[in-house]
Symmetry: C2
Subunit: 140 residues, 2 copies
Amino acid sequence: MIRTTPRDVFAALQAHGHKLTQPRRLVIETLVDQSRAMTANDLHQVLAERGVSLASIYRTLELMSELHLAEPVHQSGDEARYIACRPEHHHHIICTGCWRVADVDSCLLEPVANAIHEQSHFDVESHILEFYGRCAACRR
Amino acid sequence: MIRTTPRDVFAALQAHGHKLTQPRRLVIETLVDQSRAMTANDLHQVLAERGVSLASIYRTLELMSELHLAEPVHQSGDEARYIACRPEHHHHIICTGCWRVADVDSCLLEPVANAIHEQSHFDVESHILEFYGRCAACRR
DNA sequence: CTGGTTGCAAAATTTTTGCACACTC
DNA sequence: GAGTGTGCAAAAATTTTGCAACCAG
């Protein structure tokens, strides 16, 4: 399973000229450590007592997204949820009970994209593939 | 290509005891005819002059979703976009230029779900798979 | 030091809802 | 006629932004 680490994220941020502030550090550490898809509010509940504002959480999540250090979950209800992950192309299996995430390494869809092109004359530029289910714990 | 029709949608609504009002009829006809992923505002721009309120548009889209007569697009930006489609399991290829939609009939993912189960011990209950690209027209 | 980053509060956006009236069946 | 559905306007909820103060490099 290809997980990321806070160190990887810090390094990537700094490589792009961003500063490593306390609020950022805390958001990143929390999101990575939980390996769950979290909302801004989830993070704020954990980090408010340490003085991290909701605005900084939103700003950090957006920054991580831009640098492909986090990805939004597409079936997330009203609030956006984010997963800390590595920039390489891969997919997730996400528990809709606890929002814990596992990686799906292989991407079997390149041949499908070609088939679609022949059928529909669309150039396929990207795709979303996410699996939802129940992890062993939530299944009880 | 498996498209739906306004008639199909009307029939399904009535089969579930819902009335066929003028605002509903117009929303459904517009969404089906365009075969594009549309936002509530897109629909309102077309239908406001015919007296259809934004509230009714939202309510109709939600009703269609519940009955699996429409599906939300998961990579849609700030506003939710909906596609009128048939209830059967299938996938879409969506143009990010004009939001026109084509269907992808085959679903190749059942075997993948089993592989995931063995890897991660998640029960896979559902998945999102959407392709994004450029249709021939938007490619210019 | 210097400019990026933060927290706060206000604003912006999208979506939902209460209610009186209207329309479908 | 009964009860669902509508429009309007206000409310809710999430996310974004302006600005003065602050901190990392």
